[in-house]
Structure formats: C-alpha cells, structure tokens
C-alpha cells in the first residue's frame, strides 16, 4: 500500500490526467477497480471549448497534443461525470483542476470539498493555454497558489509540475513549503510542429522519459513529500526505473492511448516482483 497525503492507494500505478478522459470512456476496456487511482481530465470552473484543430500529432517515440483543456466545467463534472464514474468503480478519483487565477482554483476546491474524492491534482503546468503564464514556472507563484488552496481544503493536494523550468527542485520545494501533500512530475514539454504554420503543443511519450527520470531523481533528493513520477512510461521496466529514481507512485500517460490495458498489466507484473 502507498500513502499520498491522506490517500491510501492499493497499488502505486495511476493513470495520468488528460490521457484517461473522465475514466468512464475506458470502462469497457479496463478493469478500473484494479487501478491505483484515476486522475481525471483537468476541470476548470467554467466549461472550456479547447483549441482549434489540429490537436494531435504523432512524432517519433511520442506525440504532441494541443487540446487546450477542453472540458465540461466544474458543475457538469460534479453533477454528471463524477457520479457516473463513482458508480462504476471504487478506485480513488483524483480530480485534476486548472484555472486562470488563484481565485478560480480556490472556488473549484471549495466546491470539491463537498465531494468524496481521493484528492486534487493542481494542474499548474499545462503548456497549451496561450497567453497565460505557466504558474509552475515561478517558485513564488507556485507557493502563493498552493498556499491559498491549502487553506481551503483538507483533501489531499498533489501539485503537477512543468519540466520547462531552470530548476525543478526549487519549484518542488516551494510546493512542499506551501503545504502540497505530493508532487507529480512531469507534465508535457512545450513543443511545436511546423505544418504550414507553427502549432504549439505539449510533447509526451517515451521520448521524454529520461528527462522525466532525471527530474524525479533530483526532486526526490530535495523534498520529503511523495513524488508521483510520469513521462513516457510504456511498460513495467519504465515504471521500475521511476521507482528507483525516487518516485513513490507512477502514472501512465499517453501509453493509455497505445494500449488501454497497459496500466493493469504493469500493476500485475509489479505484484510478481
């Protein structure tokens, strides 16, 4: 069993935000009850329509996405998606949330306080919101945001970090100091495709694994709070590398698209080790 803040997980393998929808989409293919936890698609206070097409590019050993946080908004999530997901699984649900201001994060957290969920993941590292600074690129802003959220909730708070920083350990330390129960890293890298015009997006997949590993290791040497490691985990060997680098748990990201059953397979293989 693994403990992340107050949250007890039956196993240390989660599915990463943005790669598993609201969980419901996978119900026919994946035994959701076997997952350590489900981190849902990032929810914002109001529904978001997301970015225009094109949104998906395959690249060697990975992909670039530019979804732009399309989501149903907090109200519909609480009224429809969350109850539906809870009806089909007992696995803890970690709700990923995003916002443009600290006030928005706080308002979402206040509403989620009434919900029986496993925890909250603060997405302060999405590379796909044009015109907005990535909060987790500043240690000071990261502290301010987490501190404001921490004061308002007893839910387990996990902070998701961007790899696109000078020193990720500084940001992780800031998250810990502000009261985050854990950090999850890494989010996708800001990247670009040039197809007639420049298209910005987030780079993910096995091509970022070794950068993620290094960051997980460095952060594990700096903070005491648990780390959820992610970035290009495709199989059990990858997962083990993250554990060895200092992660307490791991999250499977775009490998879910490649093989929806991969997280379960990793869980079963880890049990045998």
């Amino acid at each position: 069993m693994v403990k992340i803040g107050k949250l007890k997980l039956k196993n240390p393998v989660l599915v990463a935000s943005g790669t598993f929808g609201y969980g419901i989409e996978y119900k026919d293919l994946v035994d959701l009850d076997k997952l350590g936890a489900i981190i849902t698609k990032t929810i914002t206070l109001e529904p978001r329509e997301g970015n225009p097409q094109p949104r998906i590019f395959e690249i060697p050993y990975g992909m670039i996405n530019s979804i732009g946080l399309q989501n149903v908004g907090l109200k519909k999530f609480i009224d429809e998606k969350l109850p539906e997901l809870k009806k089909i699984t007992k696995t803890p649900i970690i709700v990923s949330i995003g916002g443009g201001t600290i006030t928005e994060y706080v308002r979402i957290v206040e509403k989620l306080n009434y919900e029986n969920i496993g925890g909250i993941e603060l997405n302060i590292s999405c590379p796909n919101i044009m015109g907005k600074k990535i909060v987790s690129q500043s240690a000071k802003e990261t502290y301010k945001l987490i501190n404001a959220v921490r004061k308002k909730t007893n839910h387990t708070v996990i902070t998701k970090l961007s790899p696109n920083v000078t020193d990720i350990t500084e940001i992780a330390k800031s998250a810990e100091d502000a009261g985050s129960d854990a950090v999850s890293l890494i989010n996708s890298f800001p990247a670009m495709i040039y197809s007639q015009s420049p298209i910005f997006g987030g780079l993910s997949g096995p091509c970022i694994k070794h950068i993620a590993l290094r960051m997980v290791y460095l952060v594990s040497q700096t903070v005491k709070i648990p780390i959820i490691g992610m970035g290009g985990i495709m199989n059990t060997k990858d997962a083990l590398e993250f554990f060895n680098a200092g992660a307490k748990a791991v999250a499977v990201g775009c490998a879910n698209f490649v093989n929806p059953k991969i997280a379960i397979k990793i869980i079963e293989r880890l049990k045998k080790k």
Binding site: G18, T19, F20, G21, E25, Y26, D28, L29, K41, E49, G50, P52, Q53, P54, R55, I56, F57, E58, I59, P60, Y61, G62, M63, N65, I67, Q70, G205, C254, N256, F257, V258, N259, P260, K261
Partner: protein, 261 residues
C-alpha cells in the same frame, strides 16, 4: 467495444495503393455497424499511436478494413502477413443513421477510402427503390468496389478526376448534376464519406436541395474512444454558440446540418 489480438486472414492489394485486410475476430464482427471503425496497432517500432480504419464488411467471425497507403502506418500495414496478429480496439463510433423511412431512398457518395463504410452500409440498408452509388476516384487504376455495389443492387456512377474512367470530374460535381438531371418520386437521403472538403460540398448541395445528409468524418485520433479529445469537429450548439464534438465518440457520422465547415 473490445480490445483483441486479431489474426490476419487475408491482406490483398485490390487496386493501385488500396489494400483490403481481413481479420478474424468474432466479437468485433458481430457488433460492428456500418460507419463504425476500429483502432489498429500496426506495429511497435515505427509508429506510436494506433490508426483508425472504417469497417468495410463483416462475416460471421471476420471483419475487413480498407486502406490506402499514404504514410508510414499504412505502409507497414500493407506488408503485414497473413497469419500474424494485430491488436485492435473496436467497434467504435456511432455508425450511420438507418433504416430509412419508406419515403426515402439512399444515395451513397464516396470519395477515396470513404467508400469502405458506404459499402458496408449498402450491404445492410433496406431501400424501397434502387439505391444510387456515386463513387469518386483520382484515376482509373484506383477504382474499387464498382462491381460490389452493383451486386448489392445499386445503380453505380463512377467518376475519375482525370477522366480516365467513367465520368470526368470531382464526385461533388457529379452529385450536383445527378440531382439536377434526375427526377425521383421518393426523397433521396444522402450518405457521404470522404475527405472533408468533399463532404463540405456534398453538405452544401444537399442543403440547397433540402435533402437529409449524413456525413462520416475523418480526423486524426489518439485514443478513438472519446478520452483524449484530439479528434474534435466544430458543431452548431445553438444559434450563436458552437461546440467541439468528438469525431470518434459523437461521430464519426453526423447529420451534416450540425457541422460548422
């Protein structure tokens, strides 16, 4: 929706650049509806994501997909050997809206690989009169399924862009001329599948003639099951608002009226 390792029981080149692969997979075969698709993992080395393909036909325990070699994924798939297996998720999407009321008969309008789902539809749809199949290709060497549509009782009109076979021109122009030159007692219902610019024109022409029109859209996909939100299309929500719908989950078939082209 199933995820299976499906054995390839045939992989044939059926015209210039077009291949038809048939898989053994009774669960998918039994559940598939015309307009639905499968996500195929073509290999584990040179491609990362799965590839979506419309289901072209089903047997008792088999299903087939049609594809044109256009990139690395389809290139690899074209070389996959009989007896090998590929991991497949399906059937996915919502399929075509049918059966028709007795006051309608279908016109199928196909461009390129779009022909696959329409052939499947033609094999399942019941029509009060001879259905019409308008099949568009670039050139003579690419033509396929002309005989198959005829065998299913359709009146078939083939066009090639270069005029090397059948009528010369884009299938959209053939469709337009057909509507103007034909008188019919029952109302046509249009089912179209092909590249987006073609579907846009078909939708416009259908609208002008006040015809029901269903389009099956293509889009790049990562998951194919509605989770990643990569394959969206702009649709009309109400008079002044739009909504991105998922081609994989809300489609691939849409009422053409919904789409903001």
């Amino acid at each position: 929706m199933y995820q299976i390792d499906a054995k390839i029981i045939s992989n044939k080149k059926i015209s210039e650049k077009y291949f038809l692969v048939t898989f053994l997979g009774d669960k998918i075969a039994r559940k598939s509806l015309p307009g639905q698709f499968v996500m195929v993992k073509v290999d584990n080395e040179k491609t990362f994501l799965r590839r979506p393909f419309s289901i072209c036909s089903t047997g008792e325990k088999t299903f087939s997909i049609l594809f044109k070699v256009v990139g690395i994924g389809t290139e690899i798939l074209s070389k996959r050997k009989v007896g090998g297996t590929l991991n497949i998720i399906g059937p996915l999407g919502n399929g075509y809206h049918f059966p028709l009321s007795t006051s309608h008969f279908p016109i199928f309008v196909a461009g390129g690989t779009g022909i696959a789902s329409l052939l499947f539809l033609a094999s399942k749809i019941k029509s009060p009169q001879k259905p019409i199949a308008l099949l568009g290709f670039k050139t003579k060497s690419e033509i396929l399924f002309e005989t198959e549509f005829k065998k299913l009782g359709c009146e078939v009109i083939v066009s090639t862009e270069d005029g090397s076979y059948g009528k010369k021109g884009f299938i959209t122009d053939i469709f337009k001329k057909f509507l103007l030159s034909t008188s019919y007692s029952l109302l046509p219902a249009v089912y179209a599948c092909g590249p987006k610019p073609m579907l846009k024109k078909i939708a416009e022409i259908s609208k002008k003639h006040k015809l029901k029109c269903y389009v099956s859209l293509e889009e790049k996909m990562a998951c194919g099951i509605g989770a990643c939100m990569g394959c969206v299309v702009r649709t009309q929500m109400n008079a002044d608002e739009f909504e991105y719908k998922k081609v994989c989950k809300d489609g691939t078939v849409f009422d053409a009226k919904e789409i903001i082209w």
